[in-house]
């Protein structure tokens, strides 16, 4: 899952930021998702232009750790977002 930009699927969900949390709801089935901490950061870094490596690098910089340290976790999380139908790649 490298190279292609990660994008949020427009019209698929509603989003609301409350305190330190982002809450998402899929509009077709009502499923809820709550993002905070690192998951929220990654979600906010998904802009339709950045690929997984770029998102990983920016997240790593935020936490002042080598990108390789968190690369697998970020990939797993983005995969989960894809599986949840919230984002797509390419």
């Amino acid at each position: 899952m490298t190279g292609s930009a990660i994008r949020k699927i427009a019209g698929r969900f509603s989003e609301s930021a409350i305190d330190d949390e982002i809450v998402l709801m899929r509009l077709d089935n009502g499923d809820f998702f709550s993002l905070s901490g690192t998951s929220r950061l990654i979600w906010e870094l998904i802009d339709g232009e950045r690929d997984l490596a770029q998102i990983g690098a920016m997240a790593a910089a935020q936490y002042a750790v080598p990108a390789t340290t968190i690369a697998d976790d970020i990939a797993d999380f983005v995969s989960a977002l894809i599986e949840a139908g919230l984002v797509a790649q390419g």
Binding site: S14, S16, E21, V23, M25, F32, F33, S34, S36
Partner: protein, 286 residues
């Protein structure tokens, strides 16, 4: 829309006359105890030959057939019809009872039997006036503040709740409802107020009052009670708008998971715990 205008609107729309009501809104007859919403209209069939019809701008018409008790009419008017009329006029009803403290509303919601009315009644012993029982109307028309409209002033309690709270029982709610009306112990509130806290009531092994996350709050606000179903049908609201409404409420006030002990012998201590929780938050942000 000013809040006083909201109260006037609701009073106007819930005015009741007796007359002839339709038997259906879309060609299909209603079963007993069924409520139908279509466009700007509501039609409810009671347990027998009672039909209650509302059309926006025209108030409520009660068609009282033979054998229909006055108590049953009042029960429907104060329950499902009230929620439906409020929903058709842009208010969001929550299945909750509430008290007032320091100019703000502290509401209690939960499944039937969770003790909403009992708790609101008992808190009167600590001087908290009743804001509403059973249905709390939320006014989201002000983008800067989520407001609550004061509601029904007669508590509906089981006999056990009457004994626990020390409330003075009045008439039975209806022959088919095993509850009585009771007067609030510390008076009532007649003015709209902002929402300070919405507590989701549970019984458990220890008394706790834990703040809920935004996500859990929003999920819990989507309860399966008929009040929420009435609102969604009346407002013809899609998921996105309903989600937006719930997030506004969750963002505007503290959302709390409030656990009390179920043993009736612990009721007084439960009340003291909740009262202390409410007053401890005085001046604290939502």
């Amino acid at each position: 829309m000013t809040l006083s205008a909201a109260q006037e609107l609701l009073a106007h729309e819930t005015r009741v006359t007796f007359g002839t009501a339709p038997r259906h809104l879309d060609g299909d007859g209603l079963e007993p105890s069924q409520l139908q919403l279509l466009g700007d209209e509501l039609l409810l069939r009671g347990r027998g030959e009672l039909f209650i019809h509302y059309r926006k701008g025209h108030g409520i018409v009660v068609d009282q057939g033979p054998g229909v008790e006055e108590d049953e009419i009042a029960s429907w008017l104060n329950g499902s019809v009230y929620s439906g009329v409020a929903s058709l006029n842009g208010f969001l009803p929550l299945h909750a009872s509430a008290i007032a403290h320091d100019g703000k509303v502290h509401a209690f919601t939960g499944a039937s039997g969770a003790g909403k009315s009992t708790l609101a009644t008992g808190l009167g012993r600590f001087g908290f006036p009743l804001f509403c029982d059973d249905t709390l109307l939320i006014d989201l028309s002000n983008p800067d503040q989520v407001m609550c409209l004061p509601g029904h002033k007669r508590l509906k309690l089981t006999q056990t709740a009457v004994e626990l709270t020390g409330a003075t029982p009045c008439a039975r709610v209806a022959s088919f409802i095993d509850k009585v009306y009771a007067r609030p112990l510390a008076g009532i509130v007649n003015e709209p107020m902002p929402l300070a806290e919405l507590a989701f009531l549970e019984f458990g092994g220890s008394r706790t009052a834990a703040r809920l996350s935004a996500g859990e709050s929003i999920m819990r606000l989507e309860d399966g009670h008929q009040t929420a179903q009435i609102f969604q049908s009346a407002a013809q609201i899609d998921r996105a708008r309903y989600f937006a409404a719930r997030t506004r409420i969750a963002a505007s006030a503290r959302m709390t998971r409030l656990v009390r002990l179920a043993d009736p012998d612990e009721f007084d201590a439960n009340l003291a715990f909740v009262a202390a929780h409410i007053t401890a938050r005085e001046g604290s942000p939502a």
